[in-house]
């Protein structure tokens, strides 16, 4: 399209503002879809990976603030829906290529300090703003994101709404009251890969890189809806992956039930992020809402036993209460900064889960061995 990927389309800047439930107002300028939106205001401190983050279903219903000021620099790659939509048929489908982690932007809105409409990268052919407008997601630039972040840090995640001048402002709404998992989970069964170790992924809002990495490791993945029944889940599979996903794990009661049944049937399970919380609930532990959660690429997690510390990519607002673990279960990882639980495993070696994202995207690699280890264990 544009020879050097620079799109310079002069747009008249419409003023807008982010209004928080506590009355705070952060003025900015609109660069996304010109419509207002409401959600839970959260921040991520990752410095790269806005396409991955925006399409991460775990951000469903949230207004995502980037603390790194300059956003949009390397644009967004083309997205030809045909090429990337997984096949409805029984035949093998293709997971969506990077950098997208799901088929659409999941965040309710975007807030940043210094947006670059002009971008530059050999893989890019549309600006972030163009993509947001195409996806009908509002976004503000010119916001004092550090002031906003400090506010969230002090008061905890706050409900907020993006108001664009001349558009009716919606009411505040708390996405955690909705069943976000149901919103983002696949509606039909998806099959990836023809041969290899059969795995079933219960999709609570999966990031595609989980599928990609399992395929790379010679597995064949069947992705099923969050509320599938045990029978369907356990059907010819060597193990089950509980994917990540948005919101409060207790909203996914059905999935928790299914997982209990799977545990009874002694089906090996690996949980990731929300999947980790669901496994914990199924195992009789408790979860609770964090003040403002972990959303960053630099969460240090220490593996109990080895003392090794890993930089992990995270995105969650709820966490497992480490002390509530039942007999047979132990903490696998602990957050080196706030001591919160970052993973659990069962004595039997059958069930394990991590709060962070071994699949990264966005964020640092270095914990993919968690997948290898699981596959090793169930081969």
């Amino acid at each position: 399209m544009r020879p050097h990927g620079i799109r310079s389309r002069p747009r008249t800047a419409t003023p807008g503002r982010l209004v928080l439930e506590d009355g705070a107002i952060f003025p900015g300028v609109s660069f996304g879809a010109e419509e207002s939106a409401a959600g839970e205001t959260v921040f991520t401190t990752g410095m790269v990976g806005y396409p991955e983050a925006l399409t991460d279903p775990s951000y469903r219903g949230q207004i995502l603030t980037f603390t790194y000021p300059s956003i949009g620099n390397y644009g967004v790659p083309a997205w030809s829906a045909q090429r990337t939509r997984p096949s409805r048929s029984e035949s093998a489908g293709e997971p969506i290529p990077r950098p997208r982690e799901s088929e659409r932007i999941q965040a309710a809105g975007l807030i940043c300090s210094s947006y670059s409409e002009n971008f530059s990268h050999h893989t890019a052919d549309m600006s972030l703003g163009y993509w947001l407008r195409e996806q009908k997601i509002p976004a503000l630039t010119g916001v004092d994101t550090r002031a906003l972040t400090k506010r969230i840090r002090i008061h905890g995640a706050l409900l907020g709404r993006i108001e664009i001048d001349g558009k009716v402002a919606p009411r505040f709404l708390d996405p955690n009251r909705r069943n976000l998992v149901a919103e983002v989970s696949t509606r039909q069964v998806l099959r990836y890969g023809r041969r290899g170790l059969p795995l079933t992924m219960i999709d609570c809002g999966r990031k595609n890189n989980q599928v990609r990495m399992l395929l790379e490791r010679g597995a064949r993945v069947t992705v099923i809806p969050w509320d599938s029944d045990v029978g369907q889940v356990a059907r010819d599979c060597a193990g089950v992956i509980l994917s990540n996903g948005p919101g409060d794990p207790r909203m996914a009661a059905t999935t928790v039930e299914t997982v209990r049944a799977l545990i009874r049937r002694r089906v090996p399970i690996l949980g990731i992020c929300l999947g980790h919380q669901i496994l914990a609930l199924a195992a009789g532990a408790s979860t609770s809402k964090m003040k403002f959660g972990h959303r960053s690429h630099n969460q240090p997690c220490v593996e109990t036993g080895t003392g090794r510390c890993y930089q992990t990519s995270q995105n969650h607002g709820f966490s497992v209460d480490g002390h509530s673990l039942q007999r047979g279960w132990t903490e696998w990882f602990v957050n080196a900064n706030d001591g919160s639980n970052e993973g659990i495993r069962h004595r039997s070696g059958l069930w394990r889960s991590v709060q962070f994202h071994p699949e990264a995207a966005p964020g640092p690699g270095g914990t993919a061995w968690i997948l290898d280890q699981f596959l090793e264990a169930i081969r």
Binding site: G5, V48, G49, P69, Y74, S116, S120, R146, N298, N337
Partner: protein
């Protein structure tokens, strides 16, 4: 714990305390500057926290690390195996740290290891294993090892001689990059388009290093750098990644650099991080390490360029950019700690095993001083030539870039709106020069497209587009000339990093009016903290910057405290470097001891004064008047100390006073009376203090008239400059004309001063402190070289060894008189000429001078502490003279970097050219002197083959005794035509060497190579600039081949005397 586990204090009866030696980096030179004072002092602090006893070896007397109180013992000795071995033999340390003193320390450590010294005395190298250092330093081995683990390095091979190198190049295919191992700052490396180029490069490369690496040319690829850390438990973190705005082909030290990277996707960013980890794991790095990458802009393909298994310039930058103390952590890891056990020193609660998240971006800009080197090429490339750097912080690239431009000083107003000449750079934008970035802006303004400039320069369109946006704002401002900028436009301009002065310039208004408009529009910058975690965790840091991208201050306006603002020195440059950082740090410490809270303003990432661990508030900011005012409004300090950061802060004195910001110490009016030649000269006349005759001229005619009246030679210079920029000596009308042309070009706004140049005068200085006009302490120093060699390039002796007490007495009187006359309170420096016991004053600076750390450390009297207390109005006793007459001698010797500046004439003159200095102590002058010059890189002649080429007959005659002495010391004398004949006539046998054009053997060219001559004494005939004389060729080759060179008669005399006595 860890320390003991690692056999701390193994015996040696040191109550179980571990003893380590830390090697410093010696004098500041191009490629190795202040950053190592920062890393070193931080490491020393970290080690001492663990109860380790630290012995520091570093001859750089101007550094903070060599100040009493940090290391347990300080050795002002050359960082040289011979000297270090002695210290080891006496001290029997348990370990040695070689990664905190740059390439100098690393190389010295390697040699100690190879010579078996470390083994003999059972000294462990702490940190990365020596094998890691050896493998990463040898480019060929490195490439092999990295390929073996399946990672990509440029196609390349190593060669030890010309033929094999040429063969190699052919197989790789031109253009190729030729580089040498064991160097810093890319010495002797470059890109060869074809065989002839390569031949030229190789001669030199092979002379400075045993082997060269020929490799695939990656010019135009993106260049990136990662700062990574690994502990003994194999935990790895990537602390900071940086992207060079200038593409591959421009040395990282020469590039504008931005942190974090701006044009990498998540996939690329973390892919390179993983590669970096694979590399440091393979080499078993323990501590800090920097790794450079190239990425192809269109394919995303990558190459690993190099790894430095030590703290580096980039690691200092990374520490300042992120707030992560790399040197501190590296030191802890070297002691055996592991990352998760260490805390993030920014908040003391979270772990140090994390990767900082920035919520701002940082731009580093190099500072060049090429104008100071006559004959130097103004192009930059894969070799380092910059002498310093600045770091700016902003919340948009535009803001940070323009701040960075201003931080460079020299009246640069930003990316646009400058009045210096860029036509040179504009002509060919594909060839990088120090001014290219400004030329790019101009090109964009003239309608060149981002795409076109990208193709020409390889600079990523993203960066060019940001420059274009700055230009667009400039145009908007011009369009608003009639009505003046409205609040919206003002805000936009400010967010794009425009200063009031810039805005005023474009809208044809004064900066003051813009400031007013800004104020009435409520436009003020906000204060933000640097906290390593992007506000995710609460912090109490005093590490601050200002930005216009924000609506609220991070820190509440402090309640009325007793704050004192201290202005730092800005970018290191020739004539202003680490010595002024020492002054600022010492001043900050002094005011803190007095119960005040120091606030330091500085923008130089190499400094210790910007270390957030120094116990003072830091504004990492511009040293412009506008910013000083902004900070003043935020902090409401009691007053400003600006006498310790060199000339840049000093120049703000009057403006600050006028704006109602009290300046501590000498009243700015009096500072001006000393700075302004007319006022100063009148004062001298009134006090009957002699001075060389001078006039201020605005036309050539006046200049000629004056010169004829007082007689040649005359000295031509613009006023108000430090380090003699554009100063010339003219010995005849022709020289005068060219000198005037030169001077006018350097600073149009300043008038030109012509003064009688006094030949054969001794030069002396008085560094002093006074309180309300009464002198508290005076240190008189003596230059070895006669007047005519800039005080910054002179070899300085303290206390004086060969001047009459009469002269010293006179100097003390004059110093006291000036203190009275200028009603001085604080530090000052007076420069004198002494000729047949008449003493004249050439200048007087009412601020701390370059030599303050030297005299303070040699005498043990902290002149800065004294001055600060006086300025803060404390009761201060005068220092008894007895304290300052010492029974030992200190010698301060200059460090030159001529080898790095292609074409520069390495002769001493009135313009300062040295990039650093060392200071050594001795029982007598010869001992101190020899130590000092060795520490400054001078190799004593072992084979004793000396080339003599003495300019004038007068000089030849004067030199005779030295020539005899050399012969008697068993030197083989070689000489050029006239010198040779002269020596023959005086019965001194010598071998004549023939000039190129003489076409006879033995020829100069064949002889001026290493391992033929090991000393060259060349005393230039005149003072005038005359490039490409034979003298120049001799001097230049000496520099290119690293042969010790002496170009001053007095220096030669002292050297020969000293060699004779030892």
């Amino acid at each position: 714990m860890a320390t003991r586990r690692k056999g701390a204090g193994s015996g040696n009866g040191r109550d179980g305390r571990m003893r380590v030696i830390l090697l410093g980096s010696g004098a500041l030179k191009i490629g190795e500057a202040g950053e190592f004072d920062y890393s070193g002092s931080q490491a020393i602090k970290a080690l001492k926290e663990d109860g380790v006893e630290v012995w520091l070896i570093n001859p750089n007397i101007a550094t903070i690390q060599t100040s009493p109180g940090l290391a347990d013992r300080i050795f002002l000795l050359p960082v040289e195996p011979r000297f270090v071995a002695k210290v080891i033999a006496n001290g029997r340390p348990d370990g040695i740290l070689i990664s905190f003193g740059g390439q100098t320390a690393l190389n010295c450590g390697l040699q100690l290891h190879r010579k078996g010294v470390l083994k003999r005395y059972g000294v462990r190298i702490l940190g990365s294993p020596i094998s890691a250092v050896e493998k990463t330093e040898n480019r060929a081995t490195f490439a092999r090892e990295v390929r073996r683990i399946g990672l990509k390095v440029p196609r390349s091979g190593a060669a030890r001689d010309l033929p094999s190198a040429l063969r190699l190049a052919r197989s790789i295919g031109y253009p190729v990059m030729a580089r040498t191992g064991f160097t810093l700052g890319g010495k002797g490396s470059g890109i060869a388009a074809g065989e002839t180029d390569l031949r030229r490069l190789l001669v030199e490369a092979l002379s400075s290093s045993p082997q060269v690496l020929i490799e695939e040319d990656l010019t135009g690829w993106k260049e990136l750098e990662y700062e990574v850390v690994r502990d003994r438990a194999d935990n790895c973190i990537s602390v900071c990644n940086m992207e060079n705005v200038d593409a591959m082909g421009v040395h990282t030290g020469e590039s504008i650099v931005v942190a974090p990277s701006q044009t990498l996707t998540d996939e690329e960013y973390f892919f390179l991080r993983d590669v970096a980890f694979q590399v440091i794991r393979h080499f078993q790095i323990v501590g800090e390490c920097n790794i450079q990458f190239a990425i192809h802009p269109k394919t995303g393909d990558y190459r690993i360029i190099e790894v430095n298994a030590r703290l580096s310039r980039s690691s200092a930058l990374a520490s300042k950019a992120t707030g992560y103390p790399l040197a501190r952590i590296a030191a802890k890891l070297a002691l055996g700690h592991i990352l998760p056990d260490l805390k993030n020193s920014m908040n003391e609660t979270t772990t140090a095993c994390f990767e900082p998240a920035l919520d701002y971006l940082v731009v580093k800009m190099p500072k060049w001083d090429l104008e100071k080197f006559q004959g130097a090429s103004h192009f930059i490339g894969s070799e380092m030539k910059s002498v310093g750097e600045v770091m700016s912080i902003g919340r948009s690239f535009e803001e940070a870039l323009q701040k960075g431009c201003r931080m460079l000083g020299d009246g640069i107003r930003g990316l646009v709106g400058n009045d210096f000449n860029i036509s040179q750079s504009l002509k060919d934008l594909s060839r990088p020069t120090p001014r290219r970035v400004f030329a790019l802006a101009e090109a964009l303004a003239r309608g060149r497209t981002v795409e076109a400039l990208h193709r020409k320069t390889g600079i990523d369109p993203w960066f060019l587009d940001k420059m274009a946006r700055i230009v667009a704002v400039r145009d908007a401002l011009r369009a608003a000339r009639r009505r003046g900028p409205d609040p919206a436009l003002l805000r936009r301009a400010k967010e794009h990093g425009f200063s009031d002065e810039q805005i005023g310039l474009e809208t044809r208004r004064g900066a003051a009016e813009i400031a007013r408009r800004r104020a009435s529009a409520g436009l003020r910058p906000v204060v933000k903290q640097i906290d390593t975690l992007a506000a995710e965790w609460p912090v109490r840091t005093n590490y601050l910057y200002l930005t216009y991208h924000g609506q609220e201050d991070d820190i509440a306006p402090p309640a009325a405290g007793r704050r004192v603002m201290i202005l730092g020195s800005g970018a290191y440059r020739i004539g202003s470097s680490v010595e002024f950082d020492w002054c600022c740090v010492s001043a900050a410490a002094a005011v803190r001891r007095m119960g005040y809270e120091p606030i330091v303003v500085n923008c130089n990432p190499e400094t210790v004064s910007t270390d957030y661990d120094m116990g003072h508030t830091i504004y990492f900011e511009e040293l412009t008047f506008e910013r000083i005012q902004d900070i003043w409004r935020k902090e409401a300090p009691l007053g400003i100390l600006l006498a310790f950061g060199g000339q840049i802060p000093n120049n703000h004195a009057l403006a600050c006073a006028r704006a109602g910001m009290p300046v501590f110490g000498t009243h700015p009016r009096d500072i001006d009376r000393a700075e302004d030649r007319h006022k100063f000269s009148t004062l001298l006349d009134r006090m009957r203090i002699p001075q060389p005759p001078w006039v201020e001229v605005t036309s050539r005619r006046e200049a000629r008239k004056f010169s004829h009246r007082v007689g040649f030679p005359v000295l031509v210079r613009p006023s108000y400059v430090l380090s003699g920029a554009a100063m010339r000596i003219a010995s005849d009308p022709v020289g005068l004309d060219s000198a005037l042309r030169g001077a006018a070009e350097v600073s149009r706004s300043h008038p030109v001063v012509v003064s009688k140049f006094i030949e054969g005068a001794k030069e002396l200085e008085a560094d002093a402190v006074a309180s309300q006009g009464a002198v508290l302490a005076v240190a008189v120093t003596e230059h070895v070289e006669n007047a005519g060699v800039h005080s910054g390039d002179a070899t300085v002796v303290f206390p004086p060894q060969k001047i009459y007490l009469e002269t010293v007495k006179r100097i003390r009187e004059i110093t006291a008189a000036l203190a009275r006359g200028l009603n001085i309170t604080g530090p000052f420096n007076v420069q004198f000429l002494a000729i047949d016991n008449e003493v004249m004053v050439i200048e007087c600076n009412l601020r701390a001078s370059r030599s303050f750390p030297f005299i303070s450390k040699v005498s043990g009297v902290d002149f800065v502490d004294l001055a600060t207390r006086a300025m803060m109005g404390a009761e201060v006793e005068a220092v008894p003279e007895s304290l300052l007459d010492l029974d030992h001698v200190g010698v301060k010797a200059p460090q030159f970097s001529f080898s790095r500046i292609k074409g520069a004439d390495p002769a001493l003159r009135v313009e300062m050219a040295s990039t650093g200095e060392v200071g050594c102590l001795g029982e007598d002058l010869p001992e101190a002197f020899l130590k000092a010059i060795i520490a400054a890189g001078f190799r004593l002649p072992e084979r004793r083959h000396v080339l003599l080429s003495i300019g004038t007959l007068k000089a030849k005659t004067r030199f005779l005794p030295q020539a005899r002495a050399l012969r008697d010391l068993g030197f083989t004398l070689y000489a050029t035509r006239h010198t040779s004949r002269f020596l023959e006539e005086n019965g001194i046998g010598n071998i004549r060497l023939y000039k190129i054009h003489e076409r006879r053997q033995p020829s100069l060219l064949d002889y001026i190579v290493p391992d033929r001559l090991d000393l060259i004494i060349n005393i230039p005939a005149g003072y005038d600039r005359r490039e490409l004389t034979d003298g120049y060729i001799i001097r230049r080759r000496a520099a290119d081949f690293g042969i010790p060179l002496i170009t001053n008669a007095q220096l030669a005399e002292l050297l020969i005397k000293s060699i004779g006595m030892k």
